[in-house]
């Protein structure tokens, strides 16, 4: 009797606690034995099956734009990624993963949490995919940039190109992200986190490939990736605006 009462009380309290901005849930990711990458379940599947409404997505994106900017450009310092032109599948998967506690991101989590449902997720993703990719993103800026880009191109073509594409276009059906137009610092941070097992929703196939890479190699690959350009998807440079 008492136990039941306690259970009832706990259940009654849970939603209230969850709404008060509780820390993100933690779901077993790449660190666990039973981890399946991109498991076909949950809100992600629901959102993927819905038709995204670009107009509704534009409205919902207003909240995202405070950090990722109205253009989707994010920040060259790598804190907030460039989003414009990203595949709907990728945006939906990453958002659902953050919401489910599979990708740790304390800054993003409360925003992901306030998103209402699978339909809104599909809407925002549809809007983001339609945006052109800004061309003035953060690149590798060292004096040895040309050398790094060349070295990175070599490495990229050996092992990254097969999945991420010649122009960094990724693969929408396979949930592989667009990386063309992404900030150098963000690319480097994500690759490092994936290599070191900190990005818990990573694809184990990629982790296996990236494991042996040194920090220097990742710098070179990021330098090359941030120099890539996807024909037809990039924004046109604004006339008269000096760089």
């Amino acid at each position: 009797m008492n136990k039941r009462l306690v259970a009832a009380l706990v259940l009654a309290l849970v939603p209230a606690v969850a709404f008060a901005g509780a820390p993100a849930p933690k779901k077993e990711g790449i660190e666990g034995k039973g981890y399946v990458w991109n498991a076909q379940e949950g809100e992600k599947i629901e959102a993927l099956h819905k038709k995204g409404d670009v107009k509704a997505g534009q409205e919902a994106y207003e909240i995202c734009g405070a950090c990722h900017l109205p253009s989707g450009a994010g920040r060259p310092d790598g804190t907030f990624p460039q989003l414009a032109g990203q595949h709907t599948t990728v945006v939906i998967k990453q958002m659902a993963d953050i919401r489910a506690g599979l990708r740790d991101n304390p800054t993003m989590y409360p925003f992901a949490q306030t998103l209402t449902d699978a339909q809104e997720l599909a809407d925002v993703a549809a809007y983001i995919e339609k945006l052109c990719i800004p061309v003035d993103h953060g690149k590798y800026e060292g004096a040895d940039a040309a050398m790094q880009v060349a070295k990175g191109k070599d490495l990229y073509e050996k092992q990254c190109l097969e999945c991420h594409g010649k122009n960094g276009e990724g693969n929408k059906e396979k949930f592989y992200p667009v990386i063309a137009g992404q900030h150098y610092k963000y690319l480097l941070r994500q690759m490092t986190e994936i290599r070191d097992g900190h990005r818990r929703n990573a694809n184990p196939d990629m982790v296996k490939i990236i494991k042996p890479y040194t920090n220097d190699q990742l710098i070179a690959i990021s330098a090359y990736q941030s120099s890539m350009s996807m024909p037809g998807a990039m924004c046109k440079a604004k006339p008269g605006k000096k760089k």
Binding site: G21, T79, P106
Partner: protein, 106 residues
Amino acid sequence: MKLLPIVLAAAMSAAMLSGHVQAADGKKLYAEKTCSACHGATGNKTLMPDYPKIAGQNVKYIEKQMLDIKSGARANGNSAAMKGVMVIVSDEEIKAIAEYVSKLKP
């Protein structure tokens, strides 16, 4: 002796520079450093019910909390969410933001 004018000029421009950051850029920084995303455009409408309204808060208190969250000295509550963005805010900018926020209407 020859160096004195240069030193003076440097000191003056540094003082002017910091003064400039504080006076003019608090508002701009508040939006640019994404404070508004969580604390609202006017510092009194928060994204989550357990985030603080900050408009009109004591300037020293705002500054100290930002510095402590940035350094990790404060790690309780929702600090983790804010720590992620503090890497892009310099101590100088913290001062300017604190100044601006403290003058917002509560």
